[in-house]
């Protein structure tokens, strides 16, 4: 069943890197320009009516973001993950909010967390989780969480840092120091 669908897709779209993960789960890669058309085709013609997830993987070493659209066909009980690569430097993707209502939320989150723009997507510029964030999008690989937290939260005034061994010595054997 899945093989037939993949064959039908191949006739109309340029798909590569087909990975069969399970009998009912396949991953494919599609060109950025064709991705939304492919998703629309799968939804309207092939019965993938349930949108599961929109996710992204940051391949910083290759300079690309991998967007993954997960679609599910509830009748045939099969899933497909459609990967598409977009440049990290010009991180823009065509919006798919017109296909499923919840996609606007995913796109809003990806704009905030990865800096990927989806022009035309409702409320895409409104902050989703990080109100008042002024650093680089935090889910990008180059964002250093440790450095950020050290700069933002520590050291706090009035807080002392003690070496445990020295501190206990002072506490337990104050006379030894003399």
């Amino acid at each position: 069943m899945m093989e037939q669908i993949l064959q039908d897709i191949s006739k109309q779209f340029e798909i590569t890197d087909i990975v069969k993960k399970r009998d009912n789960l396949n991953f494919i890669t599609c060109k950025k320009e064709q991705t939304i058309s492919l998703i629309t085709y799968l939804r309207d013609i092939k019965g993938f009516s349930h949108f599961v997830l929109l996710s992204v993987v940051d391949w910083i070493e290759d300079g690309v973001f991998q967007l993954v659209y997960f679609l599910n066909n509830p009748e045939k009980k099969i899933d497909i993950g459609i990967r598409t690569m977009i440049s990290r430097d010009n991180a823009t993707m065509t919006s798919a909010h017109h296909l499923w209502e919840q996609i606007a939320t995913y796109q809003r989150e990806l704009k905030e967390m990865y800096g990927i723009d989806f022009p035309g997507s409702p409320r895409v510029d409104e902050s989703f989780i990080l109100e008042g964030w002024d650093d680089i999008p935090p889910m990008r690989r180059e964002f250093d969480t440790k450095k950020y937290s050290e700069e933002t939260f520590f050291p706090r005034e009035g807080r002392e840092t003690n070496d445990p061994e020295e501190y206990m010595k002072k506490k337990l054997y104050p006379d030894e120091e003399k």
């Binding site: 991953f27 599961v52 993987v57 997960f70 509830p74 209502e101 939320t105 902050s127 989703f128 889910m139």
Partner: protein, 397 residues
């Protein structure tokens, strides 16, 4: 939207709120026809750390926006910088109320990408832990529906019974809230001596609770008046918004991951998830009450059918030096609120490249809730939120 027969009067929707020529609402707060109300984050009618920005015309909602971020701890980012076994202890915190689905999905991702086959005995015990987790969650949600309409008694019963399930969890796993029982490669232990008997005693009490809560809540005239025909979820929205679990089943969709994509040993169990069609708050609550019945039955079947002993762990690499080849997968399980999925990507290193939780509330509590609240009465907001089982931590991971 389905007309609520209990509402005696409502504003003339053709006049208020006025519409702009392009069809958008002309909500001018200075006109004094509208009031902006924040429902949460500190509000007894909010299901967790989130808030709703509501624009009200009379007592009807004309605009609603969900605000999250009060509980954001950046778990997905943290896990990218942790070894797989460290990520495991972090991911369970993504849903405090029902952490076992995280344990299972994370473990299954790691096992699938590493090519590890889990022994059958471990699968029986995993199923038991997941069903116990579902049960304790349902014991909060079901009476919580009454609480949202002023019936506080059921919650006290539910919390007491949930505590008994947590007792069973404690003797099985050592932990009450976070269990870390389903670990990559298997589970951490067999059933303790006398566990089956004590679990059966607990299940008997839950059987009695189902009868009592029916009399207290489902047969209650006030509860019915507040929930029948209220919070209608149009079946056409199920696919449009990606609704799943009990919310979809209350709208007539027979969807349950345990049945549709059997995992663990669910295909060896005899059960049928309850489905209804009225799709209002009352029906969604009814579906969850029946889910308690189904879960109790499943736990009894597991205890009766499971083998007494067997291997509970597969051979795994040293957890401190566990490298997983480059790959990706998506796994799903059925939580008490619907489809709970994990997308994991590995790059051959000791750390996951990406992990993404797909929680049912990401849909139910944001885009769907914002849509459902339009035209609702402000007094029904809490009840609608509980009926969708909104759980903010899985939105903001």
């Amino acid at each position: 939207m389905k007309k609520n027969k209990n509402v005696l009067w409502s504003p003339d929707r053709s006049k208020f709120p006025e519409k702009n020529p392009d069809g958008s609402l002309n909500v001018d707060l200075s006109s004094e026809k509208y009031v902006k109300v924040w429902h949460g984050p500190n509000h007894p009618g909010v299901t967790g750390n989130m808030s709703l920005e509501l624009t009200i015309c009379g007592d009807e909602i004309v605009q609603a926006k969900t605000h999250v971020g009060y509980l954001h701890r950046g778990f997905e980012k943290l896990i990218e910088r942790r070894k797989f076994i460290q990520g495991f202890t972090t991911c369970i915190r993504m849903c405090v109320a029902e952490p076992d689905s995280n344990e299972y999905n994370f473990s299954r991702c790691v096992e699938e990408l590493s090519g590890i086959e889990v022994p059958e005995m471990a699968n029986w015990l995993r199923t038991l832990a997941l069903e116990m987790s579902r049960l304790q969650m349902l014991l909060r949600i079901v009476p919580g529906q009454g609480n949202a309409t002023g019936l506080g008694m059921g919650v006290q019963w539910g919390i007491y019974l949930r505590d008994l399930i947590l007792d069973r969890f404690e003797e099985l796993t050592g932990g009450r809230v976070y269990h870390m029982y389903i670990t990559p490669g298997g589970v951490r232990g067999l059933l303790p001596d006398g566990f089956k008997k004590r679990m059966e005693d607990t299940l008997d009490k839950i059987d009695a609770f189902i009868g009592n809560i029916t009399k207290l809540m489902y047969d209650n005239a006030v509860f019915k008046k507040r929930t029948v025909g209220v919070g209608y979820l149009d079946p056409s929205w199920v696919d449009k918004f990606g609704v799943g679990g009990p919310n979809a089943r209350a709208a007539g969709f027979k969807r349950d991951v345990r049945k549709d994509y059997p995992y663990l040993i669910y295909d060896k169990l005899d059960f049928e998830p309850y489905t209804a069609t009225d799709s209002d708050i009352y029906t969604r609550s009814l579906v969850r009450r029946e889910d308690i019945r189904t879960t109790v039955d499943i736990i009894r079947q597991i205890l009766a059918k499971m083998p007494d002993k067997g291997d509970i762990r597969a051979q795994t690499p040293n957890v401190l030096h566990w490298k997983i080849p480059k790959g990706e997968t998506y796994v799903r399980s059925e939580s008490s609120r619907g489809e709970y999925g994990y997308y994991m990507v590995t790059d051959g290193s000791e750390f996951p490249r990406r992990i993404n939780l797909r929680g049912p509330s990401y849909v139910h509590a944001v885009s769907l809730l914002e849509k459902m609240l339009i035209g609702a009465n402000i007094a029904d907001v809490a009840s609608m939120m509980v009926s969708l089982a909104a759980c903010p931590p899985e939105i903001e991971r």
